[in-house]
C-alpha cells in the first residue's frame, strides 16, 4: 500500500484538506483533487511551463514539486486571477485584446509567469521581459503578441496603482 498523507493546501485563498500520495505532483493534485483544471500539464518534466503557478509570490513549475511540499504556502492558480465578481485581471484582458493566444493551451502558464514577474518587477524592461517569457513554450509561436499583452497589462496595472 502506498503511503497517504493528510495535506492542507491553500489555493486562491481557499483551504483544501486532502488525502494524498506523496508522489502526486502539485499540478496533478490541483487538477484532479481541487478540480482546478485551469492549470495545464504539457510535458510533465519542467520544460514547457504550461503548469506554472504562483507559490508565495513566485512563479514555479507545479509539475516539478510534490503537493505535500506545498503545505503552508500560498498557491495562486489562473483561477485566482480574476476578481470576485468575475472581472478579468488586466493581464487576462490584455491577452484577449492583443490576441495573445491561439489554441490557448499554454495561456494559463504564461499568465501566471507574467503575473509573478510584474509583481516582482513592475517596471521590467523589454530585454528582461523577453528573457522571462522564453521560460515557457507557445507552440502556436504567439510570442510577439504575448509580449505586447504583458507590456500593456504592466502599463494598466501601474496606472491603477497611481489612482486608487
Amino acid at each position: 500500500m502506498s503511503q497517504k498523507l493528510e495535506v492542507k493546501l491553500t489555493v486562491n485563498g481557499r483551504d483544501y484538506v486532502l488525502s494524498l500520495e506523496p508522489r502526486w505532483t502539485l499540478a496533478d493534485v490541483l487538477r484532479e483533487h481541487c478540480g482546478l483544471t485551469g492549470t495545464h500539464l504539457g510535458c510533465e518534466h519542467g520544460v514547457c511551463g504550461a503548469c506554472t503557478v504562483m507559490i508565495d509570490g513566485q512563479a514555479v513549475r507545479s509539475c516539478l514539486m510534490f503537493a505535500v511540499q506545498a503545505q503552508g504556502k500560498a498557491i495562486v492558480t489562473v483561477e485566482g486571477l480574476a476578481g470576485p465578481g468575475g472581472e478579468l485581471h488586466p493581464l487576462q484582458q490584455a491577452f484577449i485584446d492583443h490576441h495573445a493566444l491561439q489554441c490557448g493551451f499554454c495561456t494559463p502558464g504564461f499568465l501566471m509567469l507574467a503575473h509573478a514577474t510584474l509583481l516582482e518587477s513592475p517596471d521590467i524592461d523589454d530585454e528582461a521581459l523577453i528573457d522571462i517569457l522564453a521560460s515557457n513554450l507557445c507552440r502556436c509561436t504567439g510570442y510577439k503578441n504575448i509580449l505586447a499583452a504583458v507590456k500593456t497589462a504592466a502599463a494598466v496595472m501601474k496606472a491603477r496603482r497611481r489612482q486608487p
Binding site: E21, R23, V60, L64, Q69, A134
Partner: protein, 285 residues
C-alpha cells in the same frame, strides 16, 4: 510520466535528515532539495527512490552569507538568491552573472546551488564554478562531517564521491580579491538549455601582467575541469586579444569532448575555443 510510489519524510533538522538517510540509504532513500532535476528523473522513472527525505523545511540550510574569506551557501539556497546576491564583492557579481544563464526563472526560484553540485550534470554552471574557483563541499552523515574539495569531487557524468548516506549541507567558495577580473560564456541551442560548452575565466593584473589565472571548461567532458595549459599561457603575460586567442587554442587542444546527439566531438572542440576566447574578452569589459 508519474513518479513511482515512495514514502515521504519532512526533516526538520540536519540531524534528523542524516538519521533518516542512514536508515534508508541502502533502500535508495534520497534527499530532495529543489527537485528541478530529481523530480523529472522520478517522472521518467530513471529514479525510483523508496523514501524521499525533504530538507526544504530545515531553516539552517537556507543560510547564504560571507564568513571570513568564504561565501557559505546552504543546501536549500535557490539559484534565484544567487542571481540577486548583493554581497561577496567580485565573487557575488560573478555568481549572479552565471545564475542568470541557469535554465529559466521559475526553475531558478526552486532549484538549489548544492543540489546542482550533487546532481553533477556535466553542463551545470555551478559545477564549473565550484571546480574553477576551488570550492569546498561539506558532506554530513551520522558517521562524520567531511569537507571535500570540488577538484576530485566529480568523478563522471552525474557521479560524485558522495556516499549514499551523506547529505551536502553547504558549499563554500573562497572570495575573489578586489580587482579580480572575470568572464563567463556558454553556448546552448536555446535560451535556458544545457550548455554544449561553457568557460569561466578569472585572473588579476599586477604591473600589467596576469597573475593567478584560472580557466575552467564545462559541458565538454563528463566533468568540468581547469585547463592548466591555458592558465600557463596566460600567467605572467600582458592581457590582450592575441594572448586570449592563444590560451583558447591551448584549451581546445587540452579537452577530450563528449560526442552525443547534442554536439559532436569536433564541434565541441571548436566551441571550447570560442567560449574560452569570449570569457577572456568579457574579462576586459
Amino acid at each position: 510520466m508519474k513518479p513511482a510510489p515512495f514514502d515521504y519524510h519532512a526533516a526538520r533538522t540536519v540531524e534528523e535528515a542524516v538519521a533518516l538517510l542512514a536508515e534508508y540509504a541502502d533502500r535508495d532513500g534520497r534527499i530532495i532539495a529543489g527537485g528541478q532535476s530529481f523530480v523529472p528523473m522520478m517522472a521518467f522513472r530513471l529514479a525510483r527512490p523508496s523514501h524521499v527525505i525533504d530538507i526544504n523545511g530545515i531553516a539552517a540550510l537556507g543560510r547564504l552569507a560571507v564568513e571570513g574569506e568564504v561565501l557559505r551557501i546552504g543546501a536549500v539556497v535557490r539559484h534565484a538568491a544567487l542571481e540577486t546576491l548583493g554581497c561577496a564583492g567580485v565573487l557575488g557579481r560573478l555568481l549572479s552573472q552565471m545564475a542568470r544563464l541557469i535554465a529559466h526563472k521559475p526553475i531558478r526560484n526552486r532549484g538549489t546551488f548544492c543540489g546542482s553540485i550533487v546532481n553533477a550534470d556535466p553542463a551545470a554552471e555551478w559545477c564549473l564554478a565550484a571546480v574553477t574557483l576551488g570550492a569546498e563541499i561539506v558532506a554530513q552523515s551520522v558517521r562524520e562531517i567531511r569537507v571535500l574539495g570540488a577538484d576530485g569531487f566529480f568523478t563522471g557524468a552525474m557521479t560524485t564521491t558522495l556516499a549514499p548516506d551523506e547529505l551536502v549541507t553547504e558549499c563554500r567558495i573562497p572570495l575573489l580579491r578586489d580587482g579580480t577580473r572575470f568572464g563567463f560564456d556558454e553556448v546552448s541551442r536555446r535560451a535556458g538549455d544545457f550548455a554544449m560548452a561553457a568557460a569561466l575565466a578569472t585572473y588579476r593584473v599586477e604591473d600589467g601582467r596576469i597573475v593567478e589565472p584560472r580557466i575552467g571548461v564545462g559541458g565538454v567532458e563528463p566533468c568540468p575541469k581547469r585547463i592548466a595549459a591555458a592558465e600557463a599561457r596566460l600567467a605572467g603575460a600582458a592581457p590582450d586579444h592575441r594572448l586570449f586567442a592563444a590560451a583558447a587554442s591551448e584549451a581546445a587542444a587540452a579537452v577530450e569532448p563528449m560526442d552525443d546527439g547534442e554536439a559532436s566531438r569536433g564541434y565541441r572542440q571548436r566551441l571550447v575555443r570560442a567560449v574560452v576566447t569570449r570569457a577572456l574578452e568579457r574579462s576586459l569589459s
